[in-house]
């Protein structure tokens, strides 16, 4: 009987589709926590949305480099500005289809003007945008537009110093 239950459990959990992409929902406190990260490593925080074509173009570079730099002092966080009403219809299918395994967080506070300046006062609200920082080294660079793979690699190399 125990074996039977175990077999059923194995069937249910073992055959379940690939583990669903974990999406942590964040608000302003969650964003502030990211921005205040004090670990001595380079944080690469990309702001994007599935509805933003240049974001979708550059996302694979972030995914690729997040794997390359795993455990090498670079932490990638992909903050999605997708609409909370479209998580199941747009965001999750997109992440599955594109096999995105990087750390994706969903910003659920849509009152953009209450937090956009915390990321960078110069940010006009255009997507994509990427923040590079290492609070331990007091380095910070805000990139208010898209990057290609080489640019991203170069920026990481530059600010990882």
């Amino acid at each position: 009987m125990k074996l039977f239950i175990a077999a059923i459990a194995l069937l249910i959990f073992g055959l379940a589709p690939l583990p669903a992409q974990k999406i942590e929902k964040i608000g302003i406190p969650g964003l502030e926590k990211i921005l205040a990260s004090s670990e001595d490593q380079l944080y690469v925080v990309n702001f994007w949305a599935t509805w933003c074509p240049p974001c979708v173009t550059e996302l694979p570079y972030f995914e690729k480099l997040s794997k390359e730099y795993q455990g090498k002092g670079v932490k990638f966080i992909l903050v999605s500005l997708d609409f909370p009403s479209q998580i199941d219809s747009k965001l999750i299918p997109f992440l599955k289809k594109n096999k995105i395994t990087a750390d994706v967080r969903l910003m659920t506070n849509l009152d953009y003007n209450s937090w956009i300046d915390k990321v960078d006062p110069g940010w006009q609200g255009n997507l994509p945008a990427t923040l590079f920082f290492n609070n331990a080294e007091k380095t910070k660079y805000f990139h208010p537009s898209e990057v290609d793979e080489k640019e991203l690699r170069d920026l990481i190399t530059k600010y990882k110093q």
Binding site: C52, L81, F83, L110, N113, Q124, G125, L127
Partner: protein, 202 residues
């Protein structure tokens, strides 16, 4: 006299530089323009009758954030055009970069959504650059004062793109209501999150 002339010239040059680089903000004087509407007619703000000002909206056919705000822009026009502030929407996206934003597709969009406001094509992108528009949607509320167009508000329509009923800061409406009462606009600038304007590749 020479000194004043110098200062004026320097001030003019600085204004020119600022205009070239940054976006209009409240208090600035906005330029009029002459752009083709979806009926093929050239439209300037000075030609629009019975207007004390305008809700100029940098807009397009394709951006999902614009689509979210479509109904709200139409409601703004329905509510404020009779009070002297019609909507004037402008698409500045380069169709070579964003084919869905071609002039023909603008005509289709305006017909399909039954736009009651002017929908203009900024083919050269000169107007978007002058205004410093970065995204769609991006709203500029202007008022005629002594024959000049003064900027009263720049930014987002409200603070919830996803759900109009959840928006608890209606920036554009609040600004318009203040203007209509002759009061100062409390929040004259916000940042508008949306799709980047698709600039021509140089």
């Amino acid at each position: 006299m020479k000194k004043y002339l110098f200062i004026s010239v320097a001030a003019l040059m600085m204004t020119g530089l600022l205009n070239a680089q940054s976006q209009y903000k409240a208090g600035d004087i906005a330029s009029d323009f002459n752009l083709k509407n979806v009926k093929g007619e050239p439209v300037s703000l000075t030609d629009i009758k019975d207007a004390d000002g305008f809700i100029v909206a940098f807009w397009c056919n394709t951006c999902p954030v614009v689509k979210k705000y479509d109904q709200r822009l139409q409601e703004l026009h329905a509510k404020y055009a009779p009070k002297g502030y019609p909507v004037v929407a402008i698409n500045a996206n380069d169709p070579a970069v964003s084919p869905g934003d071609s002039y023909d597709r603008m005509k289709e969009t305006a017909a399909k959504l039954n736009y009651k406001f002017e929908y203009l094509f900024d083919e050269t992108q000169e107007t978007a650059r002058k205004y410093g528009a970065t995204n769609t949607p991006h709203i500029y509320i202007l008022s005629w004062k002594d024959g000049r167009l003064v900027v009263d508000y720049v930014g987002a329509i409200d603070n919830n793109a996803d759900d109009a009923t959840a928006a608890d800061k209606k920036y554009a409406e609040d600004a318009l209501n203040s203007i209509l009462k002759g009061q100062a606009v409390a929040v004259a600038g916000t940042k508008a999150v949306g799709c980047s304007i698709k600039w021509k590749k140089s």
